[in-house]
Symmetry: C2
DNA sequence: CTGCCGAAGTGTTACGTATAACGTCGAGGT
DNA sequence: ACCTCGACGTTATACGTAACACTTCGGCAG
C-alpha cells in the first residue's frame, strides 16, 4: 500500500512549470533566466512566465548554487552590530546587494565578545566574497587561507592582500576637528583614544598630532579607553583630575567616548562647552541625543557599506574596483566653544 | 590543445576524500555525518576523518541543502538594526543558532524605510523558518502564504497564526515604572508614546492607565511620536508648553523617546529630575550615556533572540515550544525623583 | 552442511537547476 | 533539387551530498 497522491502541495519546480506550460524544463530555465534573449519566441516565453506566476514558482537557490558554483552571497565581518556605525554599514551593504540580487550574511560573532568562531562553519551559505572591517582583526585570521575575494573597510591601504580597499578620509576629518578647535583658541588638548589598535584609529592620532604640530604652541596628552561610555568616562575623569594645567578640549576617537568625556566633565563640575570643549567622531544618533549636542565628524556609514559591496561586485565581475577615500565632514554643534581664557 | 592538469586546486569534495582514504563516497558521508554510529568501524572512521582534515574538506552546503530540502537557515525580520534593541535580539538569535549549526539571515530592509521587498527573493538561502518582530508588520504581509514555521516576537499572544510566541512581560515593566513614580509622589503624568501601533506599545499604554487608575487621583495625557530623538523632543516640548498644570513625570515608551524628553526639558529650562522626572524603556546604552542617567526598564534583548531561535528549533523538531513571558526589571537611576511639590 | 544473521561497506539514485550539444523545420540562395 | 542557415526548442548532463538498498563475509545455531 503506497501513498496515493501527496496531499501536501510541494513547492513547484521548474519541471512542474514546464509540464504545465507544455514545454521542456530547459525552456523554462531559458526564459526565466533572462539571459539568452532570442532563444525562445516571445509568445512561448510569455506563456512560461504566466504559468510560473500562476504556480507560484520560486527557483530553488540551493540547486542553482550547486549548478553554478556561486552563491551570490557575501560575508560581512564587523566587530559588533550594536555599534550603530556598523549597523549602518550593514544597511548600506545589504541595500546595494539586494539591488544586484545578492545577499549579505554577517560574521556570527555579532557581540564582539567570545572566541572567534570559524566563519565558514557557521556561515550557512557558501560565500562568493568577504567584506571585512579592519576592526574585526581576530576574525580575519580565521579567514586566512580561504582565498576568497576580500574587500577591506577602513584599513591600511598599503596592505596588498585585499582585492580592494574602501576607506574614509579619516585624516581629513581629524584635521577639520583640530583646526576648528585651534580656531576657537584652544591650545591644551586631551586625546581620548580608542584602546583598539587598528588603522582607522592610528590615522586619527597621526592627523591630530600633525595638525597640532603645525600650530606650534599646542600641547596634547593621550589616554586610551575601550569603546564604551563607562570606560571613556573613567579614562577622561582620571586624565582631567591630574594636577597642572587642565586641557580645555577633549578630542575623542568616537562619539561613544565623547559621551563618556561629557559625563566625566559633569562629574567634575565642568560645564560643556563653556569650561571644556568635547568633540566626537562618527555622528551617531547618540551625538544629537546628548545635551549639549556633540560637535563631531559625520561619517557616511551607509556609503561605506555600499562602496564595499560595489567593490566586491566589481572584483567578482573582473572589473577594477573604484578606488578613492570617502569624504567626511565636520559637524559643529554645541559641545565646542572658545576656551575660558579666550572668553574672559 | 586542451588544458592539461587543472592548476587551481579545486575545493575537495567528499569523493576526493573517499578516493584518498580508499573508501567509497558513501562511507565518507556516513562518517562525517555523525549519525549512523556503528555503521562504520572506528578504525576506518578515524582514517576518513584524518584524510578529510588533511585535504581541508568542507561540505558543500548548497549540495547538502539540495539533497536534504532543508537549509538550517532562519530569517529574522526586524524593523531596523540601527535600533540597538534589535541588534541585540539578532546577536542573541545568531549566537544560539550557531550553537545548533544554524544560520540567521536578516530581512533586507534594515533601515526600516523603503518599500517592503520580497523577503524570499532577496534572502539568498531558502529558509527553514522565520522569526519576526511584531514591529515589522509590513514585512509580514510579504511573508504571508509562505507557510513556513513562524515565531513571533513581542506580539499579541492571542494571535493563532504563529507557531510560537516569545514575549516580554512588558505590562509588568510598565507597572513597575508607574508604581515607582507614584511612590515618589507623582500624580500628573505625560505618556510619551510610540507612534507605531503594535502590541508591544498597546500593552504599555494599557498597563500605565491601569496602574494609574488604581491610584485614583492620578491624571495622564498622551502624546505620540516616531521612535527618534528629534521627534520625541518636539512632541514633549509641545506637550510641556501647554498652559495649565504641567506634568511632573514623563513616562516614555522607549529610551530614545526619553532622550528626546530630556532634551525638551532642558530647552524649557526644566531640570531633570528635580523639576521633571523622565523614564525610559529598553535600557539601551543610551540610557547610561545621558546625564542624568535614565531610570528605565531593562529588557533582556539577547534573550528574546535566543528564545525566539529556541522556539523555532523546537518547532522544527516537532517539539513543543517553551511558552511564558520573559521577566523585565525596573532600573532606577538619576532621571526620577520626587516631584517639586513633595520636595518643598 | 545449510541457512541465517549482523557487521562493514559499496553502488546507486535523486534533489532542481543551467547550459552545452543536439534536432527540426521552413525559408531562401544557387 | 540540394544545401545552408537561423529560429526555436529539446535532450542530456553535471554540480556534491545523503541515504536507501544491496553485497560480501565471517560466525554460529540447527
Amino acid at each position: 500500500m503506497t501513498s496515493a497522491q501527496q496531499p501536501v502541495p510541494a513547492r513547484p519546480t521548474s519541471r512542474d512549470v514546464a509540464r504545465a506550460a507544455g514545454v521542456s524544463q530547459a525552456t523554462v530555465s531559458l526564459v526565466l533566466g533572462g539571459k539568452w534573449p532570442g532563444r525562445v519566441s516571445e509568445v512561448t516565453a510569455q506563456r512560461v512566465r504566466e504559468t510560473a506566476a500562476e504556480l507560484g514558482y520560486r527557483p530553488n537557490l540551493a540547486a542553482r548554487s550547486l549548478r553554478l558554483g556561486r552563491t551570490r552571497t557575501a560575508l560581512l565581518v564587523v566587530p559588533a552590530l550594536t555599534n550603530e556605525f556598523f549597523a549602518r554599514v550593514y544597511a548600506g551593504a545589504a541595500a546595494l546587494a539586494a539591488e544586484h540580487d545578492f545577499g549579505v550574511v554577517l560574521y556570527p560573532s555579532p557581540d564582539g565578545t567570545g572566541p572567534a568562531r570559524d566563519p565558514f562553519a557557521s556561515a550557512r551559505a557558501a560565500l562568493d566574497g568577504v567584506i571585512a572591517s579592519s576592526m574585526a582583526a581576530d576574525a580575519l585570521d580565521a579567514l586566512h587561507g580561504a582565498d576568497l575575494p576580500l574587500v577591506m573597510l577602513d584599513s591600511d591601504p598599503s596592505g596588498t592582500g585585499p582585492a580592494a580597499h574602501v576607506n574614509l578620509d579619516i585624516a581629513d576629518g581629524m584635521r577639520q576637528v583640530t583646526d576648528h578647535l585651534l580656531g576657537l583658541g584652544h591650545r591644551r588638548f586631551l586625546h581620548l583614544a580608542s584602546a583598539v589598535d587598528t588603522w582607522t584609529f592610528a590615522v586619527r592620532a597621526e592627523a591630530l598630532h600633525e595638525a597640532l604640530g603645525a600650530a606650534g604652541d599646542a600641547t596634547v596628552r593621550t589616554v586610551r579607553a575601550p569603546l564604551d561610555v563607562g570606560a571613556g568616562r573613567e579614562a577622561a575623569e582620571q586624565a582631567l583630575a591630574v594636577a597642572g594645567e587642565r586641557p580645555t578640549a577633549i578630542v575623542c576617537d568616537d562619539d561613544i567616548l565623547a559621551a563618556g568625556a561629557c559625563k566625566a566633565a559633569r562629574r567634575l563640575g565642568l560645564r560643556v562647552p563653556d569650561e571644556l570643549s568635547v568633540t566626537g567622531f562618527d555622528d551617531l544618533a547618540l551625538a544629537t541625543a546628548l545635551e549639549p549636542e556633540l560637535t563631531t565628524v559625520r561619517l557616511p556609514a551607509e556609503q561605506v557599506g555600499e562602496r564595499g559591496m560595489e567593490a566586491l561586485l566589481a572584483v567578482l565581475d573582473g572589473r577594477p574596483a573604484e578606488q578613492g577615500g570617502l569624504p567626511v565632514q565636520l559637524v559643529v554643534r554645541g559641545s565646542t566653544a572658545p576656551p575660558p581664557a579666550a572668553r574672559a
